[in-house]
Symmetry: C2
Subunit: 415 residues, 2 copies
């Protein structure tokens, strides 16, 4: 007998039929003697529908009121999920995020969890109930309802698992685990039996949509073992996300591909060659941070040959109008740069600890792409990740070639 | 400058367009210098949709979880309404029932309001905001979410108006006031300029759907002046509901017609003639009360000529299966009664204080129906109401004939 937290995402509770299926999974775990807490998201496209209602009312919805609106989605799910569990003859009780003691910072739309006061949930488990908690939402310390931002239900589940000292947090979703590449993109992609937090984090940040990056980070910080598995194949063990020591030592564990970014390159002439002028750059990144616009692959290069500096980075394509406005506003601080934008790109992220240990891997990636005549616009290397920007039309080929080069579909690859 | 509470029902916030219209009404009142609190219902058929979801999950939804589910409807409305008001440039803030301090007894599905701790709403008004409160919901004293039952938003509005010592509570709905009869049934029905709480209560209990009976009762108890008016014709003053002294002295102020009831007549032979056997009857009514099944027109008659007793009453037609089951279970206590049920009836309620003062009015009603050969199954008279059951097919004629007999469309009738 152990404590388990199970999280069911939007597709897993999209309709009454699926809610029943999810309830059966929770009840089966309880029947095995586990103390079960489930965390549920809003049904299917509920959140999108509510956002569209708000946008019909006003172009600029108040963040507090948007949270008030959006949290109703998860609240509907917990009530229905609890009824479904009860109808299977097992006691259950629903909790909104605030009721479950999910305490966040006071920030609407993308609050971070500060603390979990899980006593009410603990008490429910001790009464023999399955506790059903609304994901994505919490209460700020000044008693305002907050939401955690997209993918926040994963974070709720991991935070609860940590607070409840659960043995494991199972993330039930519409895929049956983490793959070496997106199986919709590459049929030979292989499911991993296990992966380290660090590598999963890089894959998630690289665009693997299986789990929210922030929740992986939290799992890593709190050392909660996470299992990604499918609601529709509940007997499949899925993929275990665990610490570096316990995870298999893959050279490369996976390839993520993200098509939602755009690259920007700013070329500014500078007075004093070979030294970058940081005033404008610093102002730019401060502003981007204030607006919560995520950047990736940031590179700054001061060229000696001709007196200029180049700043390159990627942002989500939908943030592009705001980013361009910021750059325009900082035009003189940035030294009146020439701006070139490419929206027709794919970011390929290759993740694995073999990258640090064997730098030859990076060379292999270059070689593979070069041989296939796939142009590479930018490359950034991290500890366990290499990201490369390639033309969008070559994304699939690039993933396939790298996947083959490292034999990721082979049986000798730690599966 | 005064304090106003405005309540917008489900049809008044059925879509984004109507929410904007309601917001304009609130903002107009604020622009006139009033301190405005609005109470909103769930959008259109949201509540019905949520109930149907719950019923798809289980035939017998847990009442706590049903409340958890249903209250999301009003929560969506307050967020959207607040955004709409803000988009008109006026500060506003939403409050769920619990946040607005609506404290109820601990009972799910049909809780009564025990107390309103309106400090947060007061503070909002003092900051110059329009406070937007979710109707229909509250918090029990053991911190559980509760709902007030159908029509509960009216009750929330009146209770808040009382707690805030508001000058008036405006109930915005899809009709522009209280009529002498349902204008859909009778084109010559006339709108009343004012009516007393007592008479409005009888009309509401008699089936006039313009306002929930419980909320009228609360308004009477707390002496809150209520105005029923139309969201779509906001410049129409509607109908003022006020105390007996201030209201016009109508002989008859209106006729309500309810087609949703069924009549039951139980005929039991009794051992001892001329004395009714109350054991079974008392058991029956206790059980009906426990199940919150409302009865009306209860009559008990012990006949001397042949030793039998007759018990007659009406209930809502949808409660009929449960009522029959109860009667069956109490068969021997009730003296093995013969049961006759009529579902094809209309209950006509004639309301006005002239009924007590001038008993001839009752005779007039009988005469009118008799002359038209409309059979009357049961009649019950109260202080200011006479109810008669007539065949459903004659309902419209009965209303029309009584309306004409008392000249309710005439100009001399206090309008």
């Amino acid at each position: 007998m152990a404590r388990l937290v199970q999280k069911f995402g939007g597709t897993s509770v999209a309709d009454v039929q699926r809610i029943r299926k999810a309830a059966e999974i929770a009840v089966a775990a309880a029947a095995e003697g586990h103390e079960v807490t489930t965390v549920v998201s809003a049904m299917g496209h509920t959140t999108d529908h509510l956002i569209s209602l708000a946008e019909q009312v006003t172009a600029d919805p108040n963040p507090r009121e948007l949270d008030m609106l959006l949290m109703t989605g998860e609240q509907q799910s917990i009530a229905l999920m609890t009824m479904a569990i009860q109808s299977l003859g097992v006691p259950a009780r629903s909790f909104t995020g605030p009721q479950a003691g999910i305490i966040t910072e006071h920030r609407h739309g993308y609050a971070s969890i500060k603390e979990v006061r899980a006593h009410p949930v603990e008490a429910s488990l001790k009464r023999g109930e399955i506790a059903v908690v609304a994901g994505f939402q919490g209460l700020s310390d000044n008693n305002e309802f907050t939401t955690l931002g997209r993918g926040g239900s994963d974070t709720t589940a991991v935070a609860l698992a940590s607070a409840l000292e659960a043995e494991r947090c199972d993330i039930y979703t519409d895929v049956n685990g983490v793959y070496t590449a997106d199986p919709r993109l590459l049929s030979e992609a292989r499911k991993l039996a296990a992966i380290s937090y660090e590598e999963m984090l890089e894959l998630a940040a690289g665009g693997a949509q299986v789990m929210n990056a922030r929740s992986v980070e939290l799992a890593m910080d709190t050392q909660v073992p996470v299992r990604v598995r499918s609601t529709f194949e509940p007997h499949d063990d899925g993929t275990l996300i665990t610490n570096f020591m316990s995870a298999p030592n893959y050279t490369i564990c996976g390839i993520a591909c993200d098509m939602s970014h755009a690259s920007l390159i700013l070329t500014s002439p500078v007075i004093e060659a070979s030294r970058a002028s940081l005033e404008g750059v610093s102002g730019l990144f401060t502003r981007l941070k204030e607006l919560r616009i995520q950047t990736d692959m940031v590179m700054l290069l001061a060229r000696e040959d001709e007196p200029s500096q180049e700043l390159a980075f990627t942002v989500e394509r939908r943030a592009l109008p705001r980013v361009q406005a910021i750059i325009q506003a900082l035009d003189s601080e940035l030294g009146h740069p020439k701006l070139s934008i490419d929206t027709d790109i794919a970011r390929i992220s290759v993740v694995g600890r073999g990258l640090t240990a064997r730098p030859v891997v990076v060379a292999d990636i270059f070689e593979v792409l070069f041989n296939a005549s796939i142009s590479v616009q930018m490359v950034a290397t991290g500890d366990i990740k290499v990201s490369a920007l390639v033309p969008a039309k070559h994304a699939r080929d690039a993933v396939k070639l790298i996947h083959n080069r490292f034999d990721l579909s082979g049986a000798n690859c730690g599966s």
